[in-house]
């Protein structure tokens, strides 16, 4: 049996070597092209990012986007879950919501952004877009989870005289949780990507999207890459935080 410390080192190594090779390839390509406008080298990007990271506007932009996209995401999680419960309870509500959910999940994000821009201010667009992208994913998955709930367990709960809350907590929550978790994980990344896409099109003042757009307009490729890298890093951190909270919730439920 391999000791766990060796196993961890092996996992780390397996993650690291492909990344290092890609970075090396990127660096070589940048050196061959020898044009910072066409392709900034990884070294230049990291240098640019470290310059940005010590400025206040950089953090203000991150804050601006993170807060709004998170609000959109969490609202969609809450409302999507609520609507799926209502749809389970009432066939009329389910039939009524079906075309709406189908429409918003099939309309391209870009069309949505331009449409919604007609109705809301550019500074709040990312809230609405991340909300609309996440809503059908949460709704569909949670509803499916509720419908897949094992009827044998519902009967068991009836015989053992479970209260309504006990039934929801132990039967429905525990059965729906895997569906909810997978929808949560998928939509977290999508909310972030669509939110930033909305910012790039609507260019709200002081957002990450605005900085990306400015970098493109002024052909500051290193800046563009640095902002992109910061988006990736923030997305990864947010994902870790939310998944940690989700696992806490799961553990609480298992007790």
């Amino acid at each position: 049996m391999i000791p766990s410390i060796l196993k961890d080192k092996k996992t780390l190594f397996n993650r690291l070597w492909p990344t290092l090779i890609w970075l090396a390839l990127w660096q070589i390509l940048a050196m061959v092209l020898d044009s910072e406008i066409i392709l900034a080298s990884p070294v230049a990007v990291i240098k640019k990012l470290s310059q940005l990271a010590i400025t206040l506007p950089f953090w203000k932009s991150i804050y601006f986007s993170v807060i709004r996209i998170t609000i959109g995401f969490l609202s969609a999680v809450f409302i999507g879950t609520l609507l799926s419960i209502l749809s389970f309870k009432s066939k009329t509500i389910r039939l009524f919501l079906e075309p709406f959910m189908k429409a918003i999940s099939s309309i391209p994000v870009a069309s949505f952004i331009i449409l919604v821009l007609l109705w809301v201010s550019s500074s709040n667009l990312n809230v609405i877009i991340s909300f609309l992208i996440v809503l059908p994913i949460i709704y569909t998955n949670v509803l499916e989870g509720i419908f897949e709930t094992d009827y044998n367990l519902v009967e068991m709960a009836t015989v053992f005289r479970f209260t309504k809350w006990k039934k929801i907590r132990y039967i429905y929550f525990s059965q729906v949780l895997p569906y909810f978790s997978s929808a949560f994980k998928i939509s977290l990344g999508l909310a972030w990507k669509s939110g930033i896409a909305a910012e790039v099109i609507a260019i709200p003042m002081g957002s990450i999207g605005e900085s990306l757009y400015q970098s493109k307009v002024y052909l500051e490729t290193a800046n563009l890459f640095a902002w992109t890298l910061s988006i990736v890093l923030v997305s990864m951190i947010l994902e870790k935080i939310f998944l940690f909270l989700l696992s806490l919730f799961e553990r609480r439920l298992e007790k």
């Binding site: 039967i171 525990s174 895997p178 439920l253």
Partner: protein
């Protein structure tokens, strides 16, 4: 456990009941007594309607004809033929969830330990073997507050040694209670000191 005064516990009277599913008669004019404060065994081949009668006793189905007396107000507990456990929850949670609020929560631990699951108390049910799951289902049924306990092939899947130990625990815990046992093994019925039989 204190022995209850049997004279106070009424028999459950099954009076000429019939039940059909899509024109197929599953129970036909069945009558019998489930003796109050004692164990009654439902005995018969597979598909003879035992599980249907259990579902009717548990209020999960209704009779088409006939009636069952003295059952409406009874609190019921059950070991289903399938375990019907919440797989992603621990053994302890599965037992505790069936307990009334005013019951000492330690009873759940105590029953699981007695049933030989002391090392599996905080393990998810999904990770347990079939025999272990069966014992969790038995612990849940015993921990719940009940006037009528229904055991549908409760010892299925347990190896001999564990089965005998489990039967002893069930016997001790259900002393003086009304129990309905479904089994294909008459030895199990004898070990639980069955007082009466309903044949299908």
């Amino acid at each position: 456990m204190m022995k209850e005064d049997k004279s106070k516990i009424k028999d459950i009277i099954i009076d000429n009941i019939s039940k059909s599913f899509q024109e197929k008669k599953v129970i036909s004019n069945l009558s019998g007594n489930i003796v109050g404060g004692a164990t009654t065994c439902l005995f018969g081949p597979s598909g003879s309607g035992k599980t249907t009668l259990i579902r009717i006793l548990l209020n999960l189905d209704t009779v088409d004809e006939g009636k069952i007396l003295n059952i409406d107000k009874l609190k019921k507990s059950v070991v289903f033929q399938e375990d019907r456990l919440c797989e992603n929850l621990t053994s302890l949670t599965n037992v505790k969830m069936a307990m009334a609020k005013d019951v000492d929560p330690f009873l759940a631990n105590q029953l699981l330990i007695e049933l030989g699951l002391e090392e599996n108390i905080n393990q998810k049910v999904a990770e347990l073997s079939g025999g272990m799951k069966r014992r969790v289902a038995i612990a849940r049924a015993l921990a719940s507050e009940y006037d009528l306990l229904i055991l549908d092939e409760p010892f299925k899947g347990l190896d001999n040694e564990i089965r005998e130990k489990t039967i002893k625990i069930v016997k001790r815990q259900t002393l003086g209670k009304t129990v309905v046992l479904v089994t294909h093994d008459l030895k199990e019925a004898e070990l639980l000191e069955t007082n009466s039989y309903i044949y299908f």
